[in-house]
């Protein structure tokens, strides 16, 4: 479908505000820890595409999810990942880009055996 507009050339005049070039060399990446809805939504981060995947695991996630009692119990070898709806086996020492993480990609991860406070998925 396309837009209903009085200006026939509307589509050509569209200015997309969230193009990757507007983020000063970063790309937006969304991260979400499944079954831990104390964190109400996936979080957005402006990250350099060349950042190693390991930095997400070792730096970003502990800073933002570390306050949850389950976080310290995560066995990272067992974590399963999904990138933009498809399973992902991340290569930790490769960059986000090399792992296929693009602008506005959504990375969800499951931590088997951990399903939130008192198993409530919170």
């Amino acid at each position: 479908m396309s837009v209903v507009a009085i200006d026939k050339n509307y589509a050509d005049k569209v200015v997309i505000r969230d193009l990757v070039e507007n983020f000063h060399g970063n790309q937006v990446v969304y991260l979400h820890w499944e079954d831990h809805l104390m964190f109400c939504a996936a979080m957005a981060f402006p990250l350099p595409p060349d950042m190693p995947f390991a930095a997400v695991v070792k730096e970003v996630l502990p800073t933002y999810y570390g306050m949850h009692p389950d976080f310290a119990k995560i066995d990272w070898a067992k974590v399963t990942w999904e990138l933009d709806g498809k399973p992902l086996t991340p290569v930790l020492d490769k960059s986000l880009k090399q792992n296929g993480v693009g602008h506005k990609s959504c990375l969800r991860f499951w931590t088997p055996g951990l399903d939130g406070y008192k198993h409530s998925r919170s």
């Binding site: 507009a5 200015v15 969230d18 104390m38 109400c40 979080m43 957005a44 933009d84 959504c106 008192k118």
Partner: protein, 505 residues
């Protein structure tokens, strides 16, 4: 000499409202009304429009002036008697902070929208009707600002509602709703605001706020509610008239109208999630649950409305069943969102008390104890340890409704509902099938969204730190934001109550 007989009301109405238009001769109609046709709506006979207002401008001014006199008399007496001290609890004030910042500016948007429609529709009947509604909306924003300005003398969070409307992350939700409607064509605007919002959903906005005000001792807000009420019923009549008129004029209008009804029902449902959390969490004295309000005002009232409209071929809005299923969740999900992000909000939040949690269990027997009580218990444990949870990350936002993507699959309340679309090689995320459909129908429009989180990352919101952004919002850090406990509002209230009991001896 015989004095001329005075005209009856009906005659006067007829003479003052009919036959005032003329057929232009210098310019073709399509140049005078350039917005009338591009949406694909066909109108064959504007004279078939039945004016539901039955009101001349002359009597309109008289009615409105009378209402104003009554309202301002009550407001004066409220101020003179320090009415703010009769509130049930200072937590209540946060509900009207949300009203002033989230709803009043939209009254102004509605005013502008109806002014535009009132200029652009080729039929004289709907033009007069839209003009009156435009004036009503302007009156509403004014009376709301005047009423709530009294609270601004004492409480935090009221002072920059106008500045904040264009900037603050959660205010982009109602703002984008009206921006979307106002940038549509005049017929879509009329269906969006006049029908979907004013007719189908308005009771879910006004009744909870006004009853909530009455239950919690806020006489001032009740009064502006009453003052708006007769206008609102006129708007509802107009909303139903416009939909019947469009559907009667041409059978080709039905699919267009149905699509607008589907879209604006869903958008309205999303915006009303703010009212849901207000009812279930922000009112110290509760009126009814959001779930109950949804049953009465949407399932029952909306159900019979759509039965009535079935003769035109119009169907119940798409995803009405999803919205109904979500009524068991959205208030909890929204409140938990504001709880963890109220360091960046212009009002305070708090955890529900044990009694309130029991009330929520009773009202939400199938969801609260299973999903939300444990979440509040976890947060309470953290508070107890002195680690009140504030989320340091910024949330992913829906590209259409602009709400953080907090809503869950309606059949799986433990899993966030992620939807996405591709447009010109980029990904766009939406929170639901309803928002995804809206995006996919007009990606050109929604790909331009000014999403607050992304704007912060781009450096367009005052700076990189939370403090920079809050300053750019003109929020008073440490006063307007954070938990109710320890807020200057709460401290002032406690002092008032202590002084009152000293006087009472």
């Amino acid at each position: 000499m015989n004095a001329p007989a005075k005209l009856g009301l009906k005659q006067r109405y007829s003479l003052l409202t009919h036959g005032l238009d003329w057929t232009p001769s210098y310019q073709p109609m399509e140049k005078i009304y350039p917005y009338a046709e591009f949406e694909g709506i066909k109108i064959h006979d504007w004279s078939k429009w039945e004016d539901p207002f039955r009101l001349t401008m002359e009597s309109y001014w008289k009615f409105q002036a009378e209402k104003e006199r009554k309202l301002y008399a009550v407001l004066d007496s409220f101020a003179q008697n320090n009415g703010q001290m009769n509130l049930s609890d200072p937590k209540y004030v946060n509900a009207i902070k949300l009203f002033l910042t989230g709803i009043s500016p939209e009254e102004y948007q509605a005013h502008r929208g109806f002014a535009h429609v009132g200029r652009q529709l080729p039929g004289v009947g709907p033009r007069v009707a839209a003009q009156m509604q435009s004036l009503d909306e302007l009156r509403h924003v004014q009376t709301q600002i005047h009423t709530l300005s009294h609270y601004n003398k004492f409480f935090d969070g009221f002072h920059e509602f106008s500045h904040q409307h264009d900037r603050v992350w959660y205010l982009s939700v109602p703002k984008s709703f009206f921006d979307d409607a106002r940038t549509a064509g005049p017929f879509e605007y009329f269906i969006a605001i006049g029908f979907a919002f004013e007719y189908v959903l308005t009771n879910l906005l006004f009744v909870p706020f006004m009853s909530g005000a009455a239950y919690n001792g806020d006489l001032a807000t009740v009064t502006f509610g009453f003052s708006a009420q007769s206008d609102e019923s006129r708007h509802m009549t107009l909303g139903i008239e416009v939909i019947k008129f469009l559907l009667e004029q041409d059978p080709g209008n039905l699919p267009i109208v149905q699509k607008w009804v589907d879209k604006w029902f869903w958008r309205g449902h999303r915006v009303l999630g703010l009212v849901a959390m207000m009812m279930d969490y922000m009112l110290p004295k509760k009126i009814m649950s959001w779930r109950e309000a949804w049953e009465i005002y949407f399932t029952e009232a909306g159900g019979s409305l759509f039965q009535d409209l079935a003769r035109y071929g119009l169907k119940v809005p798409k995803y009405a069943d999803v919205a109904t299923a979500e009524a068991d969740h959205i208030s909890h999900q929204n409140w938990l969102t504001f709880y963890q992000y109220c360091h960046a909000a212009g009002f305070h939040t708090w955890l529900p008390s044990a009694e309130e949690m029991d009330w929520l269990s009773e009202k939400y027997p199938t969801t609260f104890d299973q999903y939300y009580r444990p979440r509040f218990e976890l947060l309470a444990e953290q508070e107890k340890e002195g680690k009140r949870f504030y989320n340091n990350g910024l949330p992913q936002l829906c590209s259409v409704c602009q709400i953080p993507m907090v809503y869950t699959e309606h059949k799986d309340p433990g899993t966030i509902s992620f939807r996405s679309s591709e447009y010109k090689g980029d990904k766009y995320h939406t929170c639901s099938d309803g928002c995804k459909d809206i995006f996919d129908n007009e990606p050109e429009k929604y790909s331009q969204a000014w999403l607050p989180v992304h704007q912060i990352f781009q450096g367009n919101c005052g700076g990189a730190s939370m403090e920079d952004v809050l300053k750019w919002y003109k929020m008073n850090i440490g006063a307007d934001n954070l938990d109710q406990a320890g807020s200057p509002d709460q401290k002032m209230w406690d002092e008032w109550m202590a002084a009152r009991s000293r006087v009472a001896g």
